[in-house]
Assembly symmetry: D2
Homo-oligomer: 376 residues x 4
Amino acid sequence: MAAKSHEAYRESVAGRADVADTPELLGYYEELGALAAGALWTVANKIEPWQPKASSVPVLWRYRDLREHVLRSVDLVTPEKAGRRVVYLNNPGRQDVAAAVGWLYSGLQVMRPGEAASAHAHSASALRFIMEGRGAYTVVDGHKMTLGANDFVLTPSGTWHEHGVSEDGTTCIWQDGLDIPLINALDAGFYVVHPDLKQAVTHPVNDTSALWGGVALRPQASAWSKSYSPLFKYEWAPTYDALVRLSKVSEGNAFDGTLMHYVNPVTGGPVMPTIGASMQLLRPGEHTLAHRHTGSYLYQVAKGRGFSVINGQRFDWQERDIFCVPSWMFHEHANMSTTDDACLFCFSDLPVMKSLGLYREEALSENSGRQPVAPA
Amino acid sequence: MAAKSHEAYRESVAGRADVADTPELLGYYEELGALAAGALWTVANKIEPWQPKASSVPVLWRYRDLREHVLRSVDLVTPEKAGRRVVYLNNPGRQDVAAAVGWLYSGLQVMRPGEAASAHAHSASALRFIMEGRGAYTVVDGHKMTLGANDFVLTPSGTWHEHGVSEDGTTCIWQDGLDIPLINALDAGFYVVHPDLKQAVTHPVNDTSALWGGVALRPQASAWSKSYSPLFKYEWAPTYDALVRLSKVSEGNAFDGTLMHYVNPVTGGPVMPTIGASMQLLRPGEHTLAHRHTGSYLYQVAKGRGFSVINGQRFDWQERDIFCVPSWMFHEHANMSTTDDACLFCFSDLPVMKSLGLYREEALSENSGRQPVAPA
Amino acid sequence: MAAKSHEAYRESVAGRADVADTPELLGYYEELGALAAGALWTVANKIEPWQPKASSVPVLWRYRDLREHVLRSVDLVTPEKAGRRVVYLNNPGRQDVAAAVGWLYSGLQVMRPGEAASAHAHSASALRFIMEGRGAYTVVDGHKMTLGANDFVLTPSGTWHEHGVSEDGTTCIWQDGLDIPLINALDAGFYVVHPDLKQAVTHPVNDTSALWGGVALRPQASAWSKSYSPLFKYEWAPTYDALVRLSKVSEGNAFDGTLMHYVNPVTGGPVMPTIGASMQLLRPGEHTLAHRHTGSYLYQVAKGRGFSVINGQRFDWQERDIFCVPSWMFHEHANMSTTDDACLFCFSDLPVMKSLGLYREEALSENSGRQPVAPA
Amino acid sequence: MAAKSHEAYRESVAGRADVADTPELLGYYEELGALAAGALWTVANKIEPWQPKASSVPVLWRYRDLREHVLRSVDLVTPEKAGRRVVYLNNPGRQDVAAAVGWLYSGLQVMRPGEAASAHAHSASALRFIMEGRGAYTVVDGHKMTLGANDFVLTPSGTWHEHGVSEDGTTCIWQDGLDIPLINALDAGFYVVHPDLKQAVTHPVNDTSALWGGVALRPQASAWSKSYSPLFKYEWAPTYDALVRLSKVSEGNAFDGTLMHYVNPVTGGPVMPTIGASMQLLRPGEHTLAHRHTGSYLYQVAKGRGFSVINGQRFDWQERDIFCVPSWMFHEHANMSTTDDACLFCFSDLPVMKSLGLYREEALSENSGRQPVAPA
């Protein structure tokens, strides 16, 4: 049998590996293999790329396509058997790790009035963004929060948490966002089912909003030193209001429009150590310039309709659609309405990039800062 | 002439200085004096007290007493000659440094519609708490902020700032709070008059509230790394609302009731490095337990009426009265209304105590935690 | 063709997914697949493991096995063609990413007197631990450092760096440790070859040791705010001396013996944001207790001989051998000499675990804290 | 009796107060005084100076003048009666607070072989710099440290500490440096005598040097989160060695020569929150340029002889002399030897200036950066 070629990554550039196979070398490679080793020059150019080449691909998931399937799961499986009825987003480039983009998981979960998932805790960090329905609630370490459309809630690493829909609510669908693929990749995933499958609500409902949801106020009676935000719930109404006010006093950023990061009010830092979140407003007709940066980003359309150009490909979106921007791919966003603003919710691994010193950013310099769009 | 006695601070306690004067020692002390030196044992017990003995005394300044005098200054001096028309609070124990308590300065300033103070900058940090009138505004480094009763605004160290009242406003009175005595004591006071005596407004009015006043939101387009809060204005309405909401979900603290610290939203820390501020709500009939802690505190009654017991002395207060709690004096607060809440604004050098590791706190253990009140 | 089974990860435990395939479900799964989606319950138990199951396996690489192959590369390839002559360690569980353990790369590089690698920069962070030879040097951003056995040097993310051996030296072998697999996994890898293939030495040789290598001293004339240590070189002699002194005053830790982390002297934190390093001393006859924790660890024996038990498997080691401890595997170390101490150098992704809040630790509670060793 | 004038601080500058006394105003001032208040314009220019005007004056204390008096205290008072036999430095501008400069206390303490001071704790922070003698030791929270000339040791806020000289030592003299005046000024001083007047030594002698005195190494087995350095002792020999090495690779700073700050190895920050310390080396013949900055500085000559020009006044110094530089006074240092280096130890309130955002610095721009010296 012919020996495997080791020439696949040769580059004829000074400072890069460019070694041709020889019978002697092939024998050498085999000996190294037997020692759990290899010759760097056979893989150096592969593992030291000139710039990031994400295996994730840009994808847009249309809500009108997914919604029916999500609802159908209600009839197909019971909560008891399925644990949770969730359709997860499976990026074609990341199927092996069940990721929507990069190391981020996303799933659309459905729940009927009166149902509740069993309580559990895991070292993964999670958030839940409500897409439709009334009566959703989440309990985190004894704090119960009621949730409406476009609200989102944290269920941070290590917290007991459970989701439910009240008896007098309607069927609810939400997006779950997690760093499960990252945590697994880092060999740091722990999972515990609550001994009672349910936790007691030990605080007044929505108390975290009263404690930590003041404008630039910190309650004297409460200490907080955990690595995640104690303000578990981030509501849509005040966020949208803040964006509108901001858009009136600031031009925003050429690449991001009017964008605000959700923060941990105790530190001003990201909501969780591994997942950040933001909401951005595009003014009527606004079309941002293209830039690219490291990190993986999953967007959900909270309001309006428009399109994004990602890596030269155009994706048209409307409310509740989801799309992703993989690392180091140029992207720009456009609001197609001339009268209404559009809002994009986004969660990402930006805090990871920042903590590890890996964030890089670059504007598109050609073509007046807009990408040529490839024909469909 | 008889030599000065050096026995004033003797204590007959093991580990403390207890040296009697002798002729030889008195001669020795004189020799040391000539060398710009002294014998430690003559002052050791004085400079190493068992616990803090503030030179400040508890004082309550009644607004009904001061208001007339403040208004009268309008007729007595011109802004041009006086710089600012201010009645400052002069703690009887701190007259030499013009302090209201500890190293904190406080003054009541009055301004008529259409007037404005000249712009300046200083290394002292300042805040301004509006007591009455309409149309007050402050400009800080080109940001203009409009101010209503119980709003407060920062004019941090090193910023160009100026105060005014709009033409269509009414005569305004506010409290200025500064760390001037501290900055002078630390030999770090700089003062500059703006070359034009007035600065340009270079941003939309009240833009800092739109930029930094969201609930747990950080604007992407604005960076901030200064040591003080970029949210210069803290408004009364959302603060009071937050206190009311907080009082419904939390018992608060036995010593402070429902108290929230104003924070720098970028860091979660104090609004300025040398001055902190808080607003606290006392429920109808609430009477807190007594405790004491290091730091100097100046209170202004923002709402309601009640009394405080400070170092065993009772002070009755109503809206807009000002009183102080010197370091390490026991204090407790009571709301005398059985139907309405009361609110106390407070600024202090608490951030200094914390930064320098000097904060200590102690509950009153006797008498069920309430101070016996000395007869007036 | 029969549809693929989706039952592989079923668990019959409350709160976990336990859904049997049905024809209807298999059809549903196919439809989801066409939408770049899937049903969570088919993968939930896989992606939410009860605890970490590292794909890396424990490996010991004997230096006496590898040395000859490393040296042979000198004859097999030229530096010009190979870039660098390196034998990298290829963990059988991580071959796809060329990692020694977890997301850490390790390679043994050889260089002859008078040779130098071309200068480059990358977003990966690297260190270099000298195994044998005289005359090795490294240049980092214009700072040249000379290196002896058991010294290690940082070439942090974004720095220009190059390695060489002086004309009057001997053939040198060292270990390169990098986070290349992690950086690639996070889609954040950039690589630049220096335009001149070589950088100028712009500072006195070994100046960083004079600037930042004092005991608890910071040079006034130099500022440093980068995320990595400015003390690029960590020398063996003072480190070993410090360990010996420490071992005389402290019992150390039951699991780690006498262990010191190398730190960034400017912050006291890890040497680089993604890679930490430590040196540990085992007293004669010392045998630590077993514990496990998250993170991936690569050890190099700096001194002595002994064995480690990793996940129930015994690995005997001697000077310059390399072995790895994958995440969450129990491990214990023993010094087999009754007269001499043994020292283990280790680099790891511990700073990543700490930054992201993923560090967990557990002692072995059974068997008096020592693992039963599986028969070979 | 004539009313007191209130015109003392008038300035005829736009933006400054310039109000002449009138009978009406004098009456007004009196009324305000009765309300514990005053008119700002009578003191504004005083309390808002254009720049710092320290009340401290530059002083040089010659050791040859003080030494005899320090030794004489041994015969004059017993340790039991005096507590400690200390001659403190009494800046003529700061006699009321027993300070050597600004808010810093300094005293020269003497102790005979076999003597020990009683153990106590206080909220003041202290350091002790050995001037002469053998056998000095200090115990801090159970850690005993032996001390030689030019070593210094921390006794941080809140720690139990005591000083002594071993039976086989010689009479020792050292400088005590404390922030007592600052702590008193901030009304934050607490003092406790140890119940046994003596504490047990609970750790190996000099263990903190073994634990925390490695070069850029942190012991795994010891945690530390206090606000001060766990490396209580800073030794002369490695410090001098580090300065010499530094002086060979770096030009240093035009104003400071070769200066290193002592740091807390856990954080890289100052040794204590309120007191910083540094050692600086002046090369043979080196004469630094003049600058000024905020903060109060007390120097002790550790080696050599030279002079300093402070606020235009020349002070000649030699080994063990002490001198001070008050805030915002120009200063420059010169080594008068053409063959030997000179070293200056300094402690200061620089960490306070930095924490509170009050540090400012300015080079002398005239006269080629050197001060004209006033005739004596």
